[in-house]
Structure formats: C-alpha cells, structure tokens
C-alpha cells in the first residue's frame, strides 16, 4: 500500500477562510485498516467548501469546522470516508484500502505522479511484490508475461544473460537501431545497453545494463507504452519508457528487512538424439565428426546434452534498512547475488549498495538524493552460430564420451580434428567481464508558493566494463590463439529542470502547467586491444601475443531539450493534456539539429457524468485518446565520409575509406502515434478491463541503407522508409474473493502487434536482417512486415479444383522439389508472434499465498540453427529413419509444366546420409532446415509463500517473516523440437529476432526463499 505524501492538485489550495458560525476545532488521527499505522498526507476537506488540510507524518490533522458540516477524508489508494463533525472535537478515522484503485497514481514523466484517471494514454504499473516474487535477478525478466504489449526475449540461460524488451513492435528499419524503451530511475534516464562485442554478435549473451538494478530496491515500475506517454523524455523515449521508482525511507521507527533465496536451475528442454547409429559416415566407421556410422551394437551411447549441462545455482541475499523522521528519511540496501551457470565454467555475480535520502530543509525546500554502486560481471563460454560451446555440443557424436576430453599432458582429446570438445572449448574460450557502476542523483524541490513549484534534478550514470575475451591456442576458431581486452566506459549526465504551476478556477476547473529544460550528455568510449598468435600456450595475459591491433570507438553526444505540458481538467472527469518539446541533438547536421514535436491527449470518465459511480454492475468507465509525435536523432558520427587507418603490414600502414557514408542532410526520425483506449470497472470494481488500440507510424527513419558495393560503399545512412505498427492490448483483473481469510485475484493480458513496411528507401528493394544461411533469410520490403522470413518451401499443388490441392509435388527422382530459380524468395513466415498473453492468479488463505502465471505465445516462426546441424551430422533423432527407400507422400506431374496432370507419387527415393546432409534441395526447404513454429504455453512463474503467524514472533525482534518456494519457467508446452525456442542467438541488443538455438539454452529455476522484517 502506498503511503507517500501525495498532493492532490485540486486539494492543495487554501482559499480565504469562510466565516462560518459556530466553528469548533476538530482534530484526530488517520490510520490504515491494513496495519493500523498512521497515514501522513491524507486530505481532510469540508464537504461543499474548499477548505482542506492534510495529516502530518504522524497521521494527525486539525481543522475548524461547523458541527453541521461533514469532513471528507481522502487518500490515494484508500476508500474515501465522509464523517459528520457533530460535537466531538476528537475524530479518529480508519481508512480502508480501495481494492481497485480508482484514485491510483502512477509515476509518469520526470517523476511526476499523476492520477491514473487523468491519463489519456496507456500505462501499466507493476508493483514491487510482483517483481520480487519472481526472484529474477534481472528486472526485465521479472516483467515476463505481465505487461501487455510488451515482449521480453531473454538471450538464454547463460549466467547473467541479457534480456531484450520491446514495446509494441519494431519502430525502426535499421537492423542495429535501438528499438528498446528508455529506462528511467527516479526521474533520471539510465543506460540499458548490452554493449555487444560487435553488432549482432552471437558470441556472448551480454547482460543488459538495467539488470544491474537491484530488484529489491524497486517500489514500482510503470511502463509508458506509446509516444504520448513518453514524449516529455524526448527523443530517447521514442520506443516508450520504463519508469522505475525506487524505495525510500518512511518516517517512524527504523525498519530492517532481509531476504535470501537459493535456486536450482537446469536446462528446460533439449533436442532429441538418436542412439541407433554411431560415429562414422555412410554406414561405416571412419574418422568423422558425424553419426552416420554403423549400427551401435553393444557399445555404450552418450547423450552429450545430458552429460554437459549441470544444475546451476543462484544465491541472492538482500538487506535493507530504512527509516526517518518528519524532516529526513533514509533508505539503504545491500544486495549480493551469485550464479553458477548450467554450463561448466560459467558464473555471474552482482553486488549493489544503495543509499537514498530525503531532507525537508524547510516547508518550502526539499532535497532528495541517492547513490547506487554496483559491481557485476562474470564468466561465460563463447557460443555462436557456426562455432562455440553449444555448436560443438550439438554436433558431438553419440558413441564418444564427451567427458573424456583431456590427454595425460593436459591437451585436448577429441574424437575428430574438425570439432572441439565442448567441455574443453568451454574451459578455453570465454569472456570475463567486470562492471563497476555508479548511479547517482540529487534533486531539489522548491515550493515557491502553494501553486508554484520548481524542481531540479541532476543524475549521473557512470560505468566501466572491463572485458577479457580469451581463445586458447589450438582451438579451431583460434589455431594460433587470440585474446581481446575491451575497456568500455560510459558516462551519462542528465540535468532536468522544471517549474510546475497548478491552479483551480472556480469549483470545477483545474489547470496544471509545466515548463522545463533538460540537458543530456553521453560519452562512451570503447578501447579494444586484440592480440593474435600466442607466444606461449595456456597463458591468459594480453602480453602474451605476437600481433596486436588496437581500436577505439568513441561516441559522444549532447541533447538539449525544452518542454512544456499543460493539463486542464473539468470536475475531475474530463482531462485535456497538451505538450510540446523541442530538442537539439549534436548528432544531426547543424541545419537539422533542432526539432519540435507535440502531443495531446484527452480522457473522459463518462460514468461520473452519468452518475453511475454506485451502479452495482458498471461503476467506472473511462475513454481516452491521444496523439503524439516523437523525434529521434542519429548515433554519433554518422554523417559524412571518414577514412580509417589499418593495421601495419610489414612496416607500411594503410589508409582505407570507410564503407559506410552518411547523408550530410540527415533529418530526425519521426514516430507519430495515435491511441484510443478505455478502462472499465464492473461489479463494484471487482472486475477491471483496460483496452487499448494504438497506431504508430515511424517515418523519415534514419536507416543504414545497404547499397550496391559497386557504388563504392556498403551502407548509406539516410532518411528513408516508413513502418506502421498497430497494437491491440487488453488487460483484465478480477478480485474474485476478498474476505479477511481468503483472497483470490485473477489477471490476464493479451496483446497483438502487427507491423507493416509502408515504404522503403528509394532504390532499395529490400533490406536483409542478418542472413544466417542462404536457406532462410529475414527480409523487409514494401508491403511486408518486420520479421518476415523468406526461403524456398517445397512445391505444392496450388489448384483449388484439384483433389490433390496442397499436396507435395514429387520430382522424377522421387524427392520433393523446390521452386526454381533460387533467385526468387518466397515468404514462409514471420518471426514475431501473432499474439501474446498472460494468465495469472494469486490466492491467499491465512498465511499462505499461492500464485501462478502462464504466458502464451501464438505464432512466431524461428530459425533453429541446431536443426541443420542435427540433420547434417546425423545425431538428431529426426535422422533415425535412414538407409531406406521411401515413397514420399505427394503427387507427381505426368503432364507438362504448363498443363500439369497429377497422379499419386509411387517413385521410391533413398533416404541416407547424402539425402540429409548433402542433398541440396532437401536442405533448402524450410520444412527441413530448422524453420519451425515456436508457439508455446509456459508456466512462467509459480510461487507458494507462507507468512509465519505473528503470534509466533511476538516475543522476538522479528516483525514478520515468510518462507517461499518459487519456480520460473517450470513447464513448457510447444510443438517446437530443440532447445527452448525463446533464447535469441544474437543477444539482447539485437533486432535479429527469431534466430535461436546456439546460445546457452534457457533454464527453469526453483527458488527457496526466506524473508524477514524486523
């Protein structure tokens, strides 16, 4: 329950006291029915007048009123109460929390708290408990399945793996653009970069930097989904924003809490292997990595997956200490988490120390500040789509024990020189990283008068990431050994100033005006030192190499913004909001660097006008609409032509022209969003439905357009292209039972986003996103959708009048055929899901609380890279059928190409190694090359907790304690064959969605936890 000092806009004014006869002084204490604690900041108003006072930090108020008058006690999140004054000068009031918060506040831009009812756009708030209950150490993962319109894709089960969050689809055609929302902590943006070692890197599943935040520090998270919501944050929030409010101390006795959890993690799902045929080729034992050998008779078999993956563990400990008095509060936390991954030799750890405080210097001046130091990092093996730990694991044969991988002299023992042993590789090709980060902010609020407030806040996000990437001498990827040391330093300074005026006009009109200025400075440096050709094997030091290359990738940008925001409301029922912001970005050419964008939104609570507040069936209905534009700048140094120096060759150093060139007249990108929605409460707030429809047009995109090499360049950065995304979102919550002993809540969400490419850059017919193989490509083109897959499906009968319609067409050789020529690509699917949803419930009985959350994904095709490997190496269970003549089910054409006559196929074809591994057309068809539908239902989270009865603790210093068992990703149902199809091969920072199977696979985790407050 919230007990923040919330100032209701229309309640803060004191007009001249009315001269009322027979006034008496009434005073008393307002407490909460929840825990009996006093509630500060409750507004106490004389009904029908404008006289308002507020309770102090001890919940005490005093007011002068006539005995005939009625006092209204109201507080955000509580049911308002009306109490006649009568003759008793002492009026103590107990407020009950409203089960469905009609007066709920949400934190929107710049840390401003607004009544949810006033918002003309969609937001969704996730409470602290819903985050910490998941025990996810990466807060982005804690949102899985909970937020509608938000898609979260983790990079898999590597220790500390990053996660990608995307709100309402891809807005940018740029394959390397940041399509993720801005993360804002206590009003100050922070970095959520993954700092991949290269664009679309498949080598490591780097952590996304928002994961540094200790989830136990979070009070609430609000997701601002569309541009209307995030417009005040400017261009960096063009993809929406995740607003995090951290906990602060409360006045009163110091309070301590301690939480500890320990987990058991294992790989959710593994591809099936065959154990009938052993190592060899073409049915014979020969030296080969393949499993196309003779039948295994009497030999032991080994499942490489089962032997390789182990049980991982995460241990998290978190301690908080907070308190304060009327003028100052403090909050401190220390947390530590360590993780040992499911892959040998992998780990991750995070330590966070936070101090936050507020100081009321006078009635008018209030300071707040916080500092958060984080150390995080770990060690993970190298993975990849064509080499790496998982790649070697999935090719490993079934008759060789992969655990037997060392020769007596310590060198690698492998059954074939074309493969590295996965255990050996894991121990000898890895990345270590170590992040030191400081997040700090300092703010001051000055209440000049009762209607005017000035607010200034400055924040710092500084981190260094020291990485060391090591490849041992003698590995297939590094026969001579190599090592890279990377020093990343990120420095972001934000300064926000705003003045906020609020005024009531007459009884019903209210206006709030905000005017502000912001400055953002980002300076990123990345110094990379690569050493090649180890002098001495097995020495992990950058000094140990023959040839060095040093590169630095600096990036500096400044953004200046000026913004205004006006809200006018009538009768607390109709709200109109207009905003405007102008940004100046250093990354654009001088003539285009200034750009303005407006927004407007309207919300109307029609049930209030209709007087339906007390209607037992339908008591609250709000309609909202908004339109907003957001501009987006470029990355630093995109404009114009540069040359680069090359590594010295025999004493001569070369200069080459860069293959990327940027337009000198680059303009800012624009995203225009139109949104309609509503919120409806039924059965006295027992059931709440929030529905939203949004159309987002992104135009003038800054795209690195791939142009013909024959132009002299690879990439031209220019404005081009238009994408439209349409999103439909529903959110349903139901408080079915809410008795003292038994509570039952249900919540469900469903969302769908459909993107469409409306125009492409001139002269460019298509842009390919990271084509992994020639077999399946992700291509965007006019009329297509982002994430469209292209390939060559088997030819089928496409004649609705034919009795064979839809059947495979079999060639003269007895094999299915694919359409020719191969220069034509065919649309075969889309990487984005048709819809996603979540369904959860929480029930509590006495001290027990049980909750579960299912998440659903319908559609979303993925390219499973391991499947091609399972086929070509013959280790996959799919290749069990072999060395047999098979008549493919389908038809053959006995007519001509133009006038086909189909009859059932009767030609038998040989299914053997050559068929799976070498047969070119067979490998091409998406039916065989790893292309699969990855719809799923998963039990995202299930949790059981028990609060120890208070009476057990009365004689101890412990205030409350609970025990919990939580499981994440416990159960997965999908038709997909392979690892858990969620984990993206290219990591959290990449837009190449849908390539799966080569990173460390996803895990399921079971946590045991203890929570103590004292």
């Amino acid at each position: 329950m919230k007990k923040k000092l919330l100032l209701l806009l229309w309640g803060t004014f004191l007009l001249a006291a009315q001269a009322v006869a027979q006034q008496i002084a009434v005073s008393g204490k307002v407490t909460s029915s929840d825990d009996g604690l006093p509630i500060p900041g409750v507004s106490v108003k004389i009904k029908g007048s404008t006289t308002v006072v507020q309770t102090n930090t001890d919940g005490i108020y005093s007011i002068k009123a006539a005995s005939s008058e009625v006092l209204i006690f109201s507080y955000i999140g509580m049911i308002s109460q009306e109490v006649p004054v009568g003759t008793n000068p002492k009026l103590n009031v107990v407020l009950k929390p409203s089960s469905n918060n009609l007066n709920e506040v949400v934190v929107t831009a710049l840390g401003v708290k607004q009544q949810k009812r006033s918002l003309g756009y969609a937001t969704q708030e996730i409470k602290a408990a819903d985050i910490t209950n998941t025990n996810q150490s990466n807060l982005v993962n804690a949102l899985k399945g909970k937020a509608s319109g938000v898609q979260i894709t983790s990079a898999g089960g590597a220790a500390g793996a990053g996660s990608r969050i995307q709100i309402r689809g891809i807005n940018s055609l740029n394959p390397s653009a940041d399509n993720q929302p801005l993360f804002v902590v206590d009003g100050i943006p922070i970095s959520n970069s993954t700092d991949p070692i290269a664009t679309n890197s498949d080598s490591f599943q780097n952590t996304n930097r928002a994961a540094d935040i200790n989830p136990d520090d979070i009070e609430s998270m609000t997701i601002l989904k569309g541009p209307a919501a995030s417009v005040l944050y400017g261009l960096r929030a063009a993809n929406g924003a995740v607003i995090i409010t951290t906990k602060s101390g409360k006045s009163g006795k110091p309070s301590f809490s301690f939480k500890t959890t320990y987990s058991f993690d294992d790989v959710t799902k593994k591809p099936p292997i065959q154990t009938t045929y052993g190592n060899g080729n073409n049915g014979a034992y020969v030296s080969s990595i393949n499993s196309w050998g003779p039948k295994i008779e009497g030999l032991p078999t080994y499942n490489p997956y089962d032997l390789f993956f182990k049980t991982g563990h995460q241990a998290q400990n978190s301690f908080t200490f907070s308190g304060g008095n009327e003028s100052a509060t403090y909050f401190t936390s220390i947390s530590n988490s360590t993780q040992n991954g499911v892959v040998p030799n992998s780990n991750y750890g995070k330590t966070s120390i936070k101090l936050a405080g507020t100081l009321k210097a006078s009635d008018k001046v209030k300071f707040e500040g916080s500092a958060n130091y984080i150390n995080s990092g770990g060690k993970n093996p190298r993975t990849g789509v064509s080499s790496g730990t998982i790649f070697y694991l999935m090719r490993h044969t079934n008759t060789v024990d992969p655990r037997d991988y060392l020769n007596p002299d310590g060198s690698e023992k492998t059954y074939n020189a074309s493969i590295n042993n996965p255990f050996y590789f894991t121990e000898n090709a890895f990345m270590k990283d170590n992040v030191n980060r400081l997040l700090g902010n300092l703010g001051v609020e000055y209440k000049a008068t009762d209607w005017l407030t000035f607010n200034y806040k400055a924040g710092l996000d500084h981190y260094t990431d020291f990485r060391s990437i090591y490849n041992e001498f003698g590995l297939l990827i590094s026969p001579l050994g190599s090592m890279t040391e990377q020093h990343i330093s990120y420095n972001e300074i934000n300064s926000n100033f705003f003045a906020r005026a609020t005024k009531q006009f007459g009884e019903k009109w209210n206006a709030t005006f905000l005017l502000g200025h912001s400055f953002t400075h980002i300076n990123r440096t990345n110094l990379s030192l690569n050493g090649q050709q180890a002098v001495v094997p097995n020495v992990e030091s950058i000094n140990n190499y023959n040839v060095y290359t040093t590169t630095t990738y600096p990036g500096k940008k400044n953004i200046i913004g000026v913004f205004g925001d006006l809200t006018v409301s009538y009768d607390n029922t109709v709200f109109l909001n207009v905003t405007g912001r102008n940004d100046w970005s250093s990354t654009l050419p001088a003539q285009n660097r200034s750009f303005f964008y407006p927004s407007t939104s309207l919300s109307y609570i029609f049930t209030e006008s209709l007087g339906m507040q007390d209607n037992p069936i339908f008591n609250y209905g709000k309609l909202r609409a908004s339109y907003a534009e957001v501009g987006k700048d470029a990355d630093p140094y995109q404009i114009g032509q540069y040359y680069s120096t090359m590594q010295s060759f025999n004493g001569g150093s070369g200069i080459r022209r860069d293959i990327k060139v940027g337009s000198e007249s680059l303009r800012p990108e624009r995203t225009k969003g139109l949104e309609f929605g509503g919120e409806f409460h039924f059965l006295k707030n027992k059931i709440t439905l929030d529905a939203n429809y949004a159309i987002l047009n992104s135009i003038d995109q800054i795209v690195p357009v791939p142009i013909s090499y024959a132009s002299g360049y690879d990439i031209f950065v220019t404005n081009a292209g238009k994408i439209r995304n349409k999103s439909l979102e529903f959110l349903l919550t139901a408080n079915l039972i809410n008795s003292r002993e038994f509570k039952l809540d249900l919540n469900a969400n469903w969302s769908q986003t459909k993107g469409r490419v409306l125009t492409m850059p001139p002269g460019v017919s298509e842009i390919q996103f990271n084509p992994e193989s020639p077999w399946v490509k992700q291509i965007i083109k006019t009329g297509g959708r982002p994430g469209d897959w292209y390939g060559w499906p088997y030819t089928r009968v496409t004649d609705p009048s034919s009795e064979y319609n839809g059947q495979l067409v079999i060639g003269a050789d007895g094999y299915p055929i694919i359409p020719q020529p191969l220069s034509n690509n065919y649309l075969i699917g889309n990487a984005y899901p048709d819809w996603v949803g979540g369904l959860g419930s929480t029930m509590s009985y006495k001290g027990f609380t049980f909750s579960f959350l299912f998440s659903f994904k319908k559609g979303g095709d993925v390219f499973d890279i391991p499947k091609t490997q399972r086929f070509s190496t013959g280790v996959g269970a799919e290749t069990q059928l072999r060395n047999a003549m098979v008549v493919f089910k389908g038809v053959k054409n006995v007519g001509t190409a133009d006038k086909p006559v189909y009859v059932p196929n009767d030609k038998a074809a040989l299914i053997d190694q050559s068929f799976y591994a070498n047969s070119f057309p067979y490998k091409l068809a998406p039916e065989n090359n790893g292309f699969q539908d990855a719809s799923w239902i998963r039990l995202q989270n299930v949790s059981l907790s028990y609060d120890l009865p208070k009476k057990w603790l009365t004689r101890t210093f412990i205030k409350s304690a609970s025990l919990s068992v939580t499981a994440n990703n416990l159960w997965l149902s999908t038709s997909f064959i392979g690892f858990d199809p969620e984990a993206s091969a290219y990591g959290a920072g990449s837009n190449s969605v849908g390539y799966v199977g080569t990173g460390v696979p996803s895990t399921r985790s079971i946590y045991f936890g203890l929570n103590v407050n004292f």
């Binding site: 020189a417 100033f497 540069y642 293959i659 132009s711 220069s823």
Partner: protein, 486 residues
Amino acid sequence: MKNLKIKVFGLVLLGATLFGSCKKALDINNDPSRLTPDQVNLAGQLAATIQFTSSSFFNAGQYGNSYPQYLAGFNTYEANIDSYNPYGFDNIWESAYRDALPNLKDMISRAETLGAPQYSGIGKVLFALTLMQSTDIWGDLPYSDAFKGPSVPSPKYDAQQDIYNTALKQLLDGAIADLAKPVPAAASLKVGASTDLIFGGVIANWQKVAYGARARYYLHLSKKDPSNMAKALADAGAAIDDQKGAIDLQLKYTQDRPSPWYTNLGQPAITAKQGRPSYFLVNLMNGTGYFNGVIDPRMPKIFDNNGAATYVGRPVGALSTEQGANLANADVTDKTFYGARTSAVPILTYAEIQFIRAEALIGTDKPSAYTAYINGIKGNMQKLGVADADILTYTTNPVVTKGGNITLTDIMLQKYIALFLQMETWTDMRRYQYDVNIYPGLKAPFKDLLGPGVYVQRGKYPDNEPGRNPNVPQVANQAVKLWLFN
C-alpha cells in the same frame, strides 16, 4: 513575491547562459578516432589498396579453385562447389567491389588531383587486373556507373564487351602512360619504399607489371581477334623479366600477417581442410598423366603427402566414398610453398609472361615458342626452389621437351602447373572451352549439378547484390558462356 522575482530572473539568466553554450555543446559530432578526407595521404592508400588487391586475388582462388580443378572439395566442401553447387562468390565480390576497386579509384583520383602520376599508374594497373579477374568470373559488371557514391546506389551493369574494349583498355594504356611520366619532386607525391608493399617504390618494376597486365589482356581477347596475339607478344616483351621471380607481382605475407593460403589451407588440420589437390593436377606431375613417366620435382615443393612414396590427387565433385577419393594423399600444408605462413599470393608472374609468349608464338615461330616454354618452366621451378640439377633433368626430359616440337597442349598444361591456385587458369581453360585436346585427361566433376559432362562457364552473381541492386543480370545458370568465350 520580490524574492520570487529574483529567482525567476536568475533562472532566465541561467537559461540564457545554457542556450549561449548550446552551439558549443552541439558542435561535437566529429569522430576523433577516424580520418577526415583531407587527412588522407597517398602513401597510406597505396599500402591499403595493395593489400585489398592481393586479398581479392586470394579470395577468387579460395573458392574459385574448384572451377579450374586445382582443388577438389574436401570435408564439408566435398562434392560442393566443385560439383557446381551454385555458389555466390560473395567474398570475391566483397574484396573486389567493396574493398579493392573503390579504394583504388579513390587513390587514382586523389593522385590525379595532386599530380602524382606514379600513384595513379599503379592504381590503374591494380584496378585493371582486379576488374579483369572480376569480369572473367561474372561477365557483365558495373563500371561506367560504378563507384559514384550514394547518389548512384544501384549502378547499371556494363556489357563485358564494353568492359574489355573500353574500360580495361583505357586503364591499362593509362597506367603505362602515367608510370612513364616524370617523377614529381615533392616527397609526398613520390611512391615511397615503406608503403609500396610489393616493389618498395621501384617504378621500373611497376612498368613491367603494367606491360605484363596488358599482355594478359590482349591474350584474353585473342579469341575475339587473333591480331591481339601479336600485341600480347609485344607487351610480354616489356614485361616481368626476372626468371627467379624476384619482380613477380605478388604480396609476400609475413610471420605477423600470415598468408591467407596458410590460414585457409596450409594451417588447418587435414580433417578441416576445404580442398585437396585434384586428381587431374597431381596426375600431370606424378607421371601417370599427360607427361607420362615424368616425376615432376615441384611436387614435394607444392604438395605434402606425409612422406608417402607417391602423390595421389582427389577426384573432383566426388564424396569421400566415391571414385577413390579416399586414396588421395596430397595436401597443401604449411610445409608447402603456397601453404607456408609467409607465402605470397601471386597475381602476375614471370612464368605466366613466358607462357603468354609461348602461346602467342606457337603458331608462327615454334623455336621461340619453345624457348619461352622452357623459360616458363624454369622460372616456376626456380621460384619454388627446385634444385638446379632437378630443373635440368626435367627440362631435358623428352616427354617435356618433345625435342622442341611442342604443341599448344604442352604450353597450356605447363602453364596450368605453374599457375597453381591462380584463377587466371580458369580463363585459359574457358578460352579453349575445356578442350580435351588441350587438357587431356580433364573430366567434368563426377557429380555435376549442371548436368553430366557440362563444365562451368561463369560465376554466379553474389547473393549479396540482388537485394541492393535491381540491375543484376538474370542468367539461367552457370553453364551460360560469357561474351569473352563465345
């Protein structure tokens, strides 16, 4: 209220100061880690373009070698590109059209602006050699519309006929003319020793290369017009003339920057090699092929058979279980001439010049043709480090000398051996349309995806290009002949 006014004034002042410093805060968009065009110098561009040109010749050989049957696919490449599995040659396209040619063009125009004719001359000859190799692979290519930057993002394709008759002619004539111009006095305009990675600034050698390149050019056109043979002969006379190969056009790699052949073929374990010397090539040298009974002393220099008594090649386009592929024992390893860590990627050699002479003279002046033929063999053997006694034995063996009465077959087969791993050979073979009289013993791949007995005529356009350029010519398949060979 007065207090408030002061504060508002203060804020306005603060705001004004901030806006004043705006411009300064926003003018920070120059990348300090890279060079602007005015910071570029010719010497650095020369070092870069030489490396790019060398890479593009290596890349052509790396996968293209299956076509002239120098190498047969092995391991994951068995019966793959050597079976004419359509392969987009993206790495050749990338190294030529993205790296070598635009940088050469940039260097040429900078040199012409600054008045540094030797730089532009070297640029033109490297440009011509790269473009000629490219058009020999693909045929029609962007040229007249190409390298104009983003204003022409999808250049049109010029007919091969125009590339040969206009573009290459202008480039080669221009190179010879530029190299002959007086050397400027300014040091920054003179080709320096350190960044001319091939000849250390000796322009006379570049001139010989330019004549040699034009000789190759005229030879290619000799089928279109036999009078070009005489022009080829004339240019060959002014071309690379050091029999030991000391002034061959080739980039010699170093211990620190290993040869791409080393990384690609020499260094990997046998179970990871992409290709093995073919049956056809090894048979020409082990005494079982056309030069029957002659053991070629170059075999131990360019192949490694792990000490076996004989050398056996691998059949082309076959799986390991087919056609005796499992019997092969010859490999390119780091112990061989081309697979060594510090080996060179040859682009134009003395031996080739001699075989151009021999081919040009065989119809008119057989004794001179014979002299060139023997010089070519000797040049290649000396370069590979064959002992003088072995050279003498080989070049006096009647099976090789034919008593001076050699034929075109002898010339082309000796050229075939001498140009091991070079794509120029594929152009030779297509000039003679894989004629079994010229290349006796040559067989189409065992598994031939173009159809039984059909030879490959052209490279498939790169997979990278169609999405970026709608002008890519549509070609039915790789059996369609190029204009040059029609």
